[in-house]
Amino acid sequence: MTTVATMSEGTDNPYALSHLDSLESEAVHIFREVAGEFERPVILFSGGKDSIVMLHLALKAFAPAPVPFTLLHVDTGHNFPEVLEYRDRTVARHGLRLHVASVQEYIDAGKLRERPDGTRNPLQTVPLTEAIQQHRFDAVFGGGRRDEEKARAKERVFSLRDEFSQWDPRRQRPELWQLYNGRHAPGEHVRVFPISNWTELDVWQYIARESIELPQIYFAHEREVFNRNGMWLTAGDWGGPKDHESVETRQVRYRTVGDMSCTGAVDSDATTLDAVITEIAASRLTERGATRADDKMSEAAMEDRKREGYF
């Protein structure tokens, strides 16, 4: 009986935005801030669902004008062919310009060495940061979300990086209201995360609402996979399976798309967007926990890679 204030029952205000509209509006605002304040922004685009959503938001933010940014893809050399095909088709369809930084070229030139475990994700950092320096990009959009990982939960929407692309969590700028501070010295750049506040489920719901096309590997299909460290990896020239690992055909799909050497598939019969959303909503595993080997290396794996310049 001692409730101090009364509770309001009626929240059916016609001017309340749905959560997807709120997130979309915020992301568009972030894209336009960067367009207004920076000289040479670029969108990291891998053909994965988060970067696909980012591109979709950018297209809406500047319509009917074209997206005023170029794209950058760090190609590990172990990418899924379906995703590369999607990437090139999308770039052509929207008349965009794509820069590709190739891990394979760095290995071939002797500037990077293949890791014993064959995982190429950690090798992306050098080609990424060198591409940023070479093209003098001053703002680099990434599709990172704070719900992905605990170090990501500490990330700002505008994340200042020094000339070595390093992230220093103790030196982050407080981010107040919607006033993003993009000031940076020559050589420094800002990583920008327009979908920071989205969850995996938000991304999928938005893809469904906007009818955004995705690479087919996001939907259940038969695939030759083998088990390594509890994950179903795609068999292929990149280095699997080894002698003691056996290939089997399973009905799987991908929750996240990255390097074939560290991105696992999940058993699934979800062949449609609705089925995928239902599956994700009921899943008891996070996206990264389920399918990313590189985050399992240590408790601070992501934080350490972010400090080095990774996204």
Binding site: M7, R32, P64, K150, R173, P174, L176, G289, E303
Partner: protein, 447 residues
């Protein structure tokens, strides 16, 4: 109570609530956050396993839920929360973004950061200790930042035998105090975060309490404001001019509506120039609409071809803000380097950044005893004070009390880009308090 197996369409019609938590170190904030996340099934198996594994390797018997929220190596090593983290959880009715802010006194700036985007703040109090200095500090910051809704969560009710008089006394004291500071709506809830009373499930131990649980309240509190009471404001972010064969003459002003609503046909004034026109069209991300409102991102087209660029403000002709080069504000200093009288800074307000100089720092608030310290000369990290700033160009600035979005600004160090100060324009917030509020004698801050 909340399963995630809802149909996609049902979930997508939910609204979004941004809220912040505030509490002292041992008030049980982590436990409350942990319980909200856990009971809304937002902690997934692999995250729990990681926490269990890390807890065991530290020699702890039970999983330490604080490890869920302390994301940095240094935080886990020291067992403290250094920085604001953002958490996400959902129920079938609403989705939530929680700004999880550290409770230490020296991290006032982090609570300011978390509260700046929050529509609701949860202030935790230990039922055994009642309203303490830190509670008053949190109430002050919530009032300063104009957080529309404040929840007082009186925690650890299990340790005071779930006694109603204990809760009632704390609720009454806090409500009187916060109301005197101008906090518009306060809801007090007796809880035990540890035992789960009134967090997600109603308590079986407190029949005398007839109000909502914390989660129920979070799910039902209104998230949009009365648009008719708001001054409509549209800061221009970017000018869209395709100059293509398909759209040779398109000229649109892109931005996010900061407050109120705009309609096609409405007479508007562009500031600071003062030129006038009417709205010819509104494009809401691909769809042409007759009306749009905050916080929608839209593109506005005007009937006349006038000179407008990033940093300008479009407002209704009948309700445009005055422009000024003299800004008086309450500020929270958020940088380690101090802010001094005479310092040259940049001032970022909406989409406009201008040169400015700090003309005066009339007072600083001593948060410990809430006394004011006149003419401190400078502000250091976590200080809250009054400043007077002169800008090189005129700004269309509202009072923060009228509009959080167009009344807020940052001061930035022009040398290295550091965000120095969070500013809230206008009279001191306590001046807006209800004159009839009780127990206001010691709360008439005029800093």
């Amino acid at each position: 109570m909340t399963t995630h197996t809802q149909h996609a369409e049902q979930l997508s019609t939910t609204t979004l609530l941004r809220f912040a938590t505030a509490g002292s170190v041992d008030d049980g904030k982590s436990t409350l956050v942990g319980r909200l996340l856990h009971d809304s099934k937002s902690v997934l198996t692999d995250q729990l396993e990681a926490v269990e594994h890390a807890s065991r390797s530290r020699g702890q018997e039970a999983p330490d839920l604080a490890l869920l929220t302390d994301g940095l190596r240094a935080e886990r090593e020291q067992g403290i929360t250094i920085d604001v983290a953002y958490r996400y959880f959902a129920t079938p009715r609403r989705r939530f973004i929680l700004a999880d802010t550290p409770g230490h006194v020296q991290y006032t700036r982090n609570m300011v950061t978390g509260a700046s985007t929050a529509e609701l703040a949860v202030v935790l109090v230990d039922a055994r200790n009642g309203v303490v200095e830190q509670t008053r500090r949190h109430a002050a910051v919530a009032a300063l930042l104009r957080v529309p809704h404040v929840v007082l969560a009186v925690n650890k009710m299990d340790l005071v035998d779930y006694a109603e008089p204990v809760f009632a006394a704390i609720a009454e004291e806090f409500t009187a105090y916060a109301a005197s500071l101008g906090v518009p709506e306060i809801t007090a809830i007796p809880i035990s975060a540890l035992a789960g009373d009134n967090v997600v499930e109603p308590s079986a131990h407190m029949d005398w309490y007839g109000g909502p649980t914390v989660l129920e309240h979070l799910e039902t509190v209104p998230v949009s404001h009365d648009l008719t009471a708001c001054h409509a404001r549209f800061p221009v972010q970017y000018v869209i001019r395709p100059q293509t064969a398909e759209h040779p003459d398109y000229r649109g002003y892109a931005g996010q509506i900061a407050a109120g609503a705009f309609r096609v046909g409405e007479a508007v004034t562009v500031l600071p120039s003062g030129r006038t026109s009417t709205i010819a069209g509104i494009d809401a991300l691909g769809e042409s609409v007759d009306i749009a409102w905050a916080p929608q991102s839209v593109t506005i087209r005007l009937a006349d071809d006038i000179d407008i660029s990033r940093g300008d403000l479009i407002a209704p002709a009948a309700d445009a803000p005055a422009v000024t080069q003299d800004v008086e504000a309450t500020v929270c200093h958020v940088a380690d380097q101090p802010l001094s009288v005479g310092q040259r800074v940049l001032l970022k307000h909406t989409t406009r950044t201008v040169k400015a100089i700090v003309k005066d720092i009339p007072s600083r608030l001593t948060l410990d005893d809430l006394s004011q310290h006149p003419a401190p000369g400078q502000l250091v990290a976590n200080d809250i004070g009054r400043v007077v700033v002169r800008t090189a160009e005129p700004l269309a600035l509202d009072a923060y009390a009228d509009s959080r979005r167009t009344g807020s600004f940052l001061l930035i160090d022009p040398a290295d880009g550091t965000t120095l100060t969070a500013g809230m324009a206008g009279a001191s917030f306590a001046a807006a308090a209800e004159p009839g509020a009780a127990a206001a004698d010691d709360a008439e801050w005029d800093f």
